[in-house]
């Protein structure tokens, strides 16, 4: 029985089919979840994909967090369900309070679209549980507001609790402590700015994202049971 991954679609989302394609290449089943619906339809894991939910008006993710689906995802996460937010999805999860911190404009004031090297700094999360600690992965970024920030107390907690799961090897956007991805206390909600779903095919220049997406597939209860 394959893992079913719900991929959330807001008005303005544009990476949903990239996520579905990556999930299905790795043996899972992708199912689109419309933002206005208020349940996750029995999926085993959830991806909040990239794009410009609600046009990024006000702030990226500020309006998306009020969609009924976000309430359903919050309940799903509270029950231990694996949730990953990619790029705009990461911004949505921080605005929704499922992850700490916020994403501000890149320090260089440029939209960045390029491959980046990531280092796996924790394998204790739903996104990195099949990765090798310390491994470097080539995964592309594609964002203007990817500069992760948080207050010093939050940063200290993230470090002490080993919740910085991915760091940039060569920080492209000014993120504090080179943070590319973080997880919640329970380690079942992860957000990251790079796009692992776009690094799952040799044609795209890298398959290093496969270990991250397959971690998510493997972390769902249906496979773990």
């Amino acid at each position: 029985m394959s893992t079913t991954v719900g991929v959330v679609v807001f008005p303005g989302t544009n990476c949903e089919m990239d996520a579905v394609t990556a999930v299905e290449r790795l043996g899972g089943e992708g199912r689109l979840l419309w933002h206005a619906d208020d349940d996750v339809a029995g999926v085993d894991a959830v991806i909040v994909p990239g794009g410009f939910a609600h046009g990024d008006y006000l702030r990226p993710g500020a309006i998306a967090r009020f969609s009924p689906m976000m309430g359903a995802i919050t309940r799903f996460a509270a029950d231990g369900g694996p949730v990953v937010g990619i790029c705009n999805g990461f911004q949505v999860l921080t605005e929704a309070g499922l992850l700490p911190g916020a994403l501000q404009k890149n320090s260089g004031l440029k939209f960045l679209c390029q491959p980046t090297a990531l280092r796996v700094d924790s394998i204790d999360s739903v996104l990195t549980c099949r990765a090798v600690f310390g491994a470097e992965l080539s995964v592309p970024i594609n964002h203007f507001e990817g500069n992760y920030t948080c207050d010093v107390e939050t940063l200290a907690r993230l470090r002490d609790e080993d919740r910085i799961v991915l760091r940039y090897v060569d920080n492209p956007n000014g993120s504090v402590d080179d943070i590319a991805g973080v997880c919640n206390e329970e380690r079942n909600v992860v957000g990251l700015m790079p796009h692992p779903e776009r690094a799952c095919d040799e044609l795209l220049g890298s398959i290093d994202g496969e270990v991250l997406i397959s971690s998510l597939l493997g972390s769902s209860p249906v496979v773990a049971a």
């Binding site: 702030r59 921080t94 916020a102 501000q104 404009k105 920030t149 207050d151």
Partner: protein
């Protein structure tokens, strides 16, 4: 009663303001020397119904902290002004 509300949103101290820094760097080339402390924020304006100024301010500040700003990176000041529509004696 109706009140005009002006919300002035600014990045918090310590949060990088690349837009403000870029504008400040450009000013000398335009002949504006000695201009420092440039910051870029945003304003939100709306009109709200409330029984009095206290309620108008309270509801506006609540709306501001729950939606209009992200307290991790932004601060805001709320200014409330009674709308003079000519009907109040």
């Amino acid at each position: 009663m109706r009140y005009d509300v002006l919300v002035d949103v600014r990045l918090r101290g310590g949060i990088a303001d690349p837009a403000g820094a870029t504008i400040e760097r450009a000013l000398p080339a335009l002949g504006y020397d000695g201009v420092v402390g440039v910051t870029v924020g945003k304003t939100v304006r709306f009109t709200i119904e409330a029984t009095d100024e206290v309620e108008a301010t309270s509801r506006s500040e609540d709306l501001c902290s729950s939606f209009l700003t992200n307290p991790v990176i932004e601060d805001a000041t709320v200014t409330v002004t009674l709308v003079d529509d000519g009907f109040d004696a």
